[in-house]
Symmetry: C2
């Protein structure tokens, strides 16, 4: 079903406003490309000073065209570009691609002009790509409205990869790397400033093309989480992986992004949590963006990812074992039978454990891989083979090695990847469809990514829970009082400390007696969210005298601070094994976010926390908590019993539901401390603070 953006990637007619005969001018390049790459639709150069451009009839204006073009690429600058956008909107153009720079990325004045263009487009039902975009390219149809030099330098070929990027350069860098490896690319889309159409929408658009089997994305800001989530869902349904390079992680990077594409900074750890939730793999740099492409495209099923490393070099075996541990790739434990067979097949000084070192004996026995691979094929513990041939050449039968590897893949369906320093060694393997890499790190990085990405997609996002239906009491103070906050949490099914809000000293004494143990006495006022800073928290009150003194100090303290006194809170002192803190907030782009953190005084100075985006289930919380630095303590160390991760997981799920339900009225919820007991003992919120939106 065509969507409103279909004309962006698949236009039936294209006008080029500011058309040039010079293919090295921005107004000349698209026309050159449309002609060279076989675009079959109508091409309308527009330039009042010419009658013909690069062999096409040229028109003086949009109005002079025989019909409205589906897409118009605007190659004029400044005020002319703004006028052209408006003219396109009036003429009934579906998609305007505005290449000119100098708008939102330059500051407030530029943003204003940009907004004017967007308004004109939207009023007419037109969509605008850019401004400050390199343009769009569809190599299936030859609809190229981009001015990139790269398409002259590195010949295109249609294929299964879609590249979607805010930046033009960052779109053609992966294009170049893939094309040099012989991989075809269908789309290279640059969205520029994302003033109207944003990079997430374009990802969603290409995810619908049945010919696309891998999507690579470069973004400096994500401002449309919903469309990216929808794109991921579409893509996963078709088993199409999405890999994203999201820059602007650092303060200086975010500042640079703002001057580049007018990007608004995202909170980077929330981006991580979002991408993880939606099964989008986050690449660390441009090489990592493309590194696993062959593995993705050949439909590699890494199964449980248990790997055998096999090499003619012991050093590569050692390096592979080190890297496997570092990346978390499990090494296959070979069966006794496999090892016996390997030992029989290999020279006596070779290694029949995993990694398998066939040694330099490969120089004299070209059949070694052919003997070893069928043995490994029969071992159920083997999911993938990493073959390292760091050196070979004269005297080595490379063709036979490649055939042996291909035969293994064909007979087992299990993937083989190769690393080889020499291009001449990689070539025959590549020709047989084996993914090849130059270094051990690239090869194992790709294998790891494939398996981990698959696990991420499998784990993701089927949970739907209803928000809690809890409401917050009305009020004008920016914060709820502690008693109000605890009441909201309790309604949401979150276990809070036993407590009572006391309006008189006598009630407080009675509360203490009823609790029957040491209590904490705290001032309760919506005006004093940080009451301990006022010295209005009294812990371990275990005598009536202490209790009464604390009560009076709280009342006096609230009075002298001029705070509205709701009362004095008397709460049980809770013992436990570990202090955590849970929090939730509403991110302006990504919505509700829940944080689970180790607790204590240095929660900010020595951060140890994980973020999750609701909805999520208890298993996801428990898995995320295993990424905490304190994870060993949760499992129990030094003979200690494990901690009650299940109770905290339950609490986090309910907190997520609560935050989701209250996001219109509440900005953040802090539960600190949360006291966690031994498994089975539960977890309890001892203090809480809700901030209104």
């Amino acid at each position: 079903m065509p969507t409103s953006l279909n004309a962006a990637i698949n236009p039936t007619s294209i006008a080029v406003i500011g058309a040039s005969d010079n293919r090295n001018k921005i107004g000349g390049r698209p026309i050159h490309f449309l002609k060279s790459f076989g675009y079959a639709g109508d091409v309308y150069p527009i330039n009042p000073n010419r009658s013909e451009v690069q062999g096409y009839a040229c028109y003086a204006s949009l109005d002079a065209l025989p019909r409205a073009p589906e897409l118009a690429v605007i190659c004029v600058a400044g005020a002319d570009a703004v006028a052209a956008v408006k003219a396109c909107a009036q003429r009934g153009v579906k998609i305007a691609v505005c290449i000119a720079s100098g708008f939102g990325e330059t500051g407030p004045a530029g943003r204003e002009v940009e907004a004017e263009m967007v308004a004109a487009a939207r009023a007419a039902g037109m969509r605008m790509i850019g401004p400050n975009t390199q343009g769009l390219a569809n190599f299936a149809t030859g609809a190229i409205t981009s001015f990139s030099t790269m398409f002259i330098e590195v010949p295109p070929a249609d294929g299964p990869v879609a590249i979607v990027s805010q930046s033009g350069a960052a779109s053609v860098v992966p294009y170049c790397m893939l094309r040099e490896r012989g991989i075809g690319v269908r789309y290279v889309l640059a969205s520029g400033n994302d003033a109207d159409v944003n990079v997430c929408e374009l990802v969603r658009e290409v995810a619908q093309d049945e010919g696309v089997r891998l999507i690579l994305v470069y973004a400096e800001t994500i401002k449309d989480a919903a469309n990216l989530a929808a794109a991921a869902q579409l893509a996963h349904r078709r088993k199409v992986p999405i890999v994203m390079l999201k820059s602007g992680r650092s303060a200086r990077g975010a500042a640079a992004a703002s001057s580049h594409t007018g990007a608004i900074a995202n909170e980077d750890r929330v981006v991580d949590a979002f991408l993880r939730k939606h099964g989008i793999w986050r690449a660390g740099d441009t090489r990592a963006l493309v590194n696993a492409a062959e593995l993705y495209l050949n439909g590699t099923d890494p199964g449980l990812g248990r790997m055998v490393a096999l090499s003619n070099s012991g050093a590569l075996c050692v390096l592979a074992a080190d890297l496997a541990e570092q990346l978390g790739i499990p090494l296959s434990r070979l069966s006794d039978q496999t090892r016996t067979l390997l030992a029989a097949a290999l020279p006596s000084f070779a290694t029949s454990t995993n990694p398998v070192d066939v040694t330099a004996a490969l120089l004299t026995d070209s059949g070694l891989f052919g003997k070893v691979l069928p043995i490994l094929a029969q071992d159920a513990e083997v999911d993938v083979i990493y073959l390292a041939i760091p050196v070979a050449g004269e005297g080595y039968d490379l063709q036979r090695f490649a055939n042996d590897a291909a035969a293994f893949v064909q007979s087992t369906g299990k993937p083989v990847v190769l690393s080889a320093t020499q291009a001449s060694v990689r070539a025959p393997f590549r020709a047989r469809g084996i993914p090849v890499f130059e270094t051990e790190s690239d090869a194992l990085g790709a294998l790891h990514q494939c398996a981990a990405h698959r696990a991420l997609v499998a784990a993701g996002g089927s949970v739907v829970f209803a928000p809690t239906g809890v409401t917050v009491p009305a009020g004008n103070a920016p914060f709820l009082s502690e008693a109000q906050s605890l009441a909201v949490l309790a309604q949401a099914g979150i276990c809070v400390v036993e407590h009572e809000l006391c309006g008189s000293e006598a009630v407080a004494v009675a509360a203490w007696q009823r609790i029957g143990a040491a209590v904490a006495v705290k001032a309760c006022s919506p005006d004093l969210p940080h009451k301990s800073e006022y010295g209005l928290v009294f812990l371990r009150c275990d005598t009536e005298t202490k209790l009464r003194e604390a009560y009076r100090a709280c009342v006096a303290g609230m009075r002298s601070a001029g705070a509205k006194a709701e009362g004095v809170l008397v709460a049980r002192m809770v013992g436990g094994r570990r202090e955590l803190a849970l929090g939730a907030k509403v991110d302006p782009v990504f919505g509700p976010v829940v944080m689970i953190s180790d607790g204590g005084k240095y929660i900010e100075a020595l951060p140890d926390n994980v973020l999750l985006l609701p909805p999520f289930d208890e298993a996801e919380v428990a898995a995320a908590m295993q990424r905490l630095r304190i994870a060993p303590l949760l499992r129990g160390v030094r003979g200690e019993a494990p901690l009650d991760v299940a109770a905290v997981s339950r609490m986090a799920v309910r907190l997520g539901a609560l935050m989701s339900g209250l996001q219109e009225s509440v900005q953040s919820i802090d539960l600190n401390p949360v006291i966690m007991g031994t498994a089975g003992e539960g977890a309890v919120v001892v203090d809480a603070l809700l901030q209104r939106a």
Copy 2:
């Protein structure tokens, strides 16, 4: 001055035992190489079945030679190899290179045979390389006794790089990568099993060659720390950097290394500390081993490393800023004058802050880099330039860009590095001597490595301190008692808790009264190093009753445990701000090692520590402590005063001196806890345990 290994890298005559006419046989390759690569010394093929091999006169045996060859390469296997080693020793050969595998790396029996060869060699004053070695190559003289296929596939050229490796493959992988980049390599030395000559000795040997300006090392075990340290000292004196890839980090990697070269596992964190101390850069993988080669070789002085990133792509500017933060590369803060000049030189929509985005306007104005670089040249905050040209080609004047970059380097002496996706863009820069990289990560990784490596070398190793002269009391128990341990520390000038060893209850009471505060009461016996596990530590005794009860419990506890009772220790309870632990031990290869660790119950489960190898000074300890996770607390957070890092540094230096002085008699020293106060308050050892060697 020639050393005993000079004949290994620079032999005047070479015999090849097991010589073959077939250049694809192990016995044929060295002869082929000696002939092809212009070796001018005498070549003696040895093979009883031939009179000529590859054009050289062939001899039946070593004895048949006109004179003893300086070097003999043994290409026969098994028992023949052993016999050949012995024959070489008898004949007066200086260096035997034993290529055969199947010795130490296969297990105990192999190790025994290997030891026999070493014994024969040593008895005759001969040195042996290998067994299980690929051999040696010196491309300055053509003395190639290696059988590597790589020298056929990738033509050699003499140059400033020495590669020394246990593994043959891991020696030719960097060779291949460097040669493909046009860099000459002088030495490619593989040491194999290191049975006699080890990899560290060979590093020391090549470090003496004035023609060598960069040394790359691959090792699976370091067993000769002294020679590696000496090599580093030699190299640094000549400003020659050493970069090492040390594998066998992981358990499986160490196991694989053991079957590969018979390598004995090093403790990896001690390796880190050793390499850091000796200014040897540790590379993470094979690419990282060679990545910064051009920067090292062109004598790049990165100064303070403050970088300007400059690109025609905003995306690369953003990525560079992110990476700079990640790697710790400082970004130059451009002066107002620089920014004003940049703004005037650039299009209005370009960015005149750092990173500098000249934008795609570079397509229409080829002079942009030429305008910008001279402006940057005048800013004192600029140490290095990172130029990113992710896309260029037709319409771009690449030659001019390269000339502009080279002119900047020439006029300022400041380095420029380039990253470019396309080989065609890299080529003109490479031709002008600019180090080029394919990706932003490689380029910035190399820049960072150069600056950080230089800082490492500058920081390293001028400290010499005298050991303390302290001795330990005689005894047979594996541990010293706490009182003995504390006494040794006190003699070494380490501040220990106020305490008294009490032989009677009355003495204990008097001690408590003298201390005048709460005390800890502990059983003191060399037989109970872990006394708290026996419940024989009583904290916070603040009444005579508690004290007496604790005393009696200690006495009774030692009696029932059958432990030799030295007495009962009464020690002041020490308050402070943070609990640390310090430790020292003797590593079998690297000698004394000092650990500084965050303290507490979970010291093993949640490790946070740094290692240092004595001698070191207080500044080195303080710098190392900044690498602890708790470093922010040391500096003071949340308005807290900083902690007394100086006192802990002093303590660590004295502990290092003590461990160095006692390494014959003491295996380890544990100070746990060490209570650290606010700056100026000091640090005090509360419990200590010395283990005898």
